[in-house]
Symmetry: C2
Subunit: 344 residues, 2 copies
């Protein structure tokens, strides 16, 4: 058996693990639940990761007691140095047969590593949201990624919250809703199984689960697709919010990233991007406004999506960290779904 490298993509709702050969071939993939340690705690996080990787070993016909060469993890919530060091220390101690070496990066960087080795902007909108610019020289500039208490603008959590808050504010006569709330209120009562606003309190506090709360976004996407104006409104606002994250890092984008064939490459990660058509007007408007106000070298941008889990980029970075180089076919890993050239 040749060298095997593991990778993990850890999201706020779902996770994935992948095993890759030295030639860059995928040997096995497995799925698991949320492994964001801020949301589920360190124990659940590392148990979940171990479980996925061990199942992948068995699926690939490997001995589960033989550690992989490296495990590179692309984790939502994988930013704070002290916290990720603790994760690695705990994994090493508790699961000595898991891997020979460990590497943790953020979900944004893992996604970028899956798509390109040249850089670009990653905008994540899944359960939470985050934006990261990676320049060709490897330098990074972030915006967001602070979680639902301090950001997550444009994420599924944020969209769900915005819609529900609109219902609360309308009931309170505190803010007038821009559109009829009937559909959203009814969808909320059905999704959360409540009969009034008071019933929402346990979902917001005692039994709060970010992933479940954010899941309401799917119902709003359905409403938006079916023509409900308030659902469409919250997605337009989400598009605007995600666009603003890109505008926030624009001043730090290296000149070379603007000049490729795609224009500025924006890698869009997370399930909310499936509702691109609902977000498009808000998103494109914010970018056009920014371009018009002083970014004359910003003439085109393209939105890309991953065809592979960012666990693959995690595996690549984990291998790199262990001194190995995994050859990835980047062009096979991405898809372009939207491109815009500004009027000159």
């Amino acid at each position: 058996m040749g060298a095997v490298y593991g990778g993990v993509e850890g999201g706020g709702t779902h996770s994935k693990a992948v095993l890759v050969s030295a030639e860059g071939h995928i040997l096995a993939e497995t799925d698991g639940p949320c492994t964001n340690h801020w949301l589920v705690g360190v124990d659940n996080c590392i148990n979940g990761i171990n479980d996925m990787v061990q199942r992948a070993k068995i699926k690939a016909g490997l001995d589960p007691d033989t550690p992989v060469c490296s495990l590179g993890m692309s984790l939502s919530g994988g930013e704070q140095k002290a916290a990720i060091q603790k994760l690695i220390d705990d994994m090493r101690e508790r699961y000595p047969k898991l891997s020979q070496s460990y590497f943790i990066t953020t979900d944004a960087i893992g996604a970028m590593a899956t798509a390109s080795d040249y850089g670009g902007i990653v905008v994540i909108s899944g359960t939470g949201s985050n934006c990261k610019l990676v320049n060709p020289d490897g330098t990074q500039v972030g915006c967001g990624g602070w979680g639902h208490m301090m950001g997550d603008e444009g994420s599924a959590y944020w969209i769900s919250h915005l819609a529900i808050k609109t219902v609360f504010d309308a009931r309170d006569n505190l803010v007038t809703s821009p559109h009829d709330i009937t559909y959203v209120k009814k969808a909320m009562e059905e999704y959360f199984q409540v009969s009034d606003l008071m019933g929402m309190l346990p979902h917001l506090y005692r039994n709060f689960q970010k992933s479940h709360f954010a899941g309401f976004c799917r119902k709003l996407a359905e409403g938006g697709d079916a023509g409900d104006a308030l659902c469409q409104h919250v997605f337009t606002e989400a598009g605007r919010a995600l666009g603003r994250h890109i505008v926030a890092v624009l001043p730090k984008v290296h000149q070379d990233l603007f000049s490729g064939e795609l224009g500025l490459p924006v890698l869009c990660v997370g399930s909310v991007w499936r509702s691109w058509e609902l977000m498009k007007s808000g998103f494109t408007q914010v970018l056009s406004e920014a371009q018009a106000h002083g970014y004359s070298h910003f003439q085109k941008y393209s939105l890309l999506t991953l065809r592979q889990s960012s666990a693959l980029g995690g595996a690549k970075m984990g291998a790199q960290n262990a001194g190995a180089s995994l050859p990835l076919d980047y062009s096979a890993n991405v898809n372009m779904f939207f491109s815009h050239t500004f009027n000159q």
Copy 2:
């Protein structure tokens, strides 16, 4: 010994208990920590209440094994029917010597019962915020009071959050701060004992304590008093937010409440009101705008503050619920600190 009635004021940070004689005299008062069951859980809530009331009995020279006639509790978070019934059932079962009967109302209604039996508007801004209109006929209309995940606008939590979010957004280049962030950033690092924004994550998630988070508001008040523009800005915004709660219930205010000597009586409860001077411009502006846009019978309003704990109003309502009537001297229970007559 004559009949003794107990009252409790339960806040998001502090709580109080009071014992009152049938003549309305205060026999003893005690203090305790947060008893908001949404924040500390049912067990801590009822243990805290029992502890305060039993200490009050001893302080008043009463036998702690003799139940008081009634216990009326004015609780932040005391709105949801099913939840308060569970609190009462648990208290009755676990502490049979505490009281013969139980009654729970919200902090807003308990405060109003302490100030008046004629009604008015209560605006609470402590750890959280809430607004309740009580009309002379006893009917109630609320705005807010949904907690930090869905409201709390204008509260200490909200003010702290707004200031900190301004620092995060400035760092991210996501939103430009209206004023220099230096003071707020430094005060945040000192108060939360962190050296960067990443260090705030445990305070927002794993170790989040609403009361501690909201306590940062005191540092912002100090900054505002010392002339820091961003601190002053967040309090002006808080004044605006609290004013908007009043405007939200204005359409439901009974005509008679406008026509007393004080004009519309607004009872202001909670520690944030101590920073009234910092909030005044935002608050008065919102009310003046609302008055100018169609409330011609709204000619004057007065802001009142309680000189007694709303545990007293809780005791009154608990006694009432048990068939007794406690005589309270309302005029001795309130203070007017601001009054405004609109230009005709």
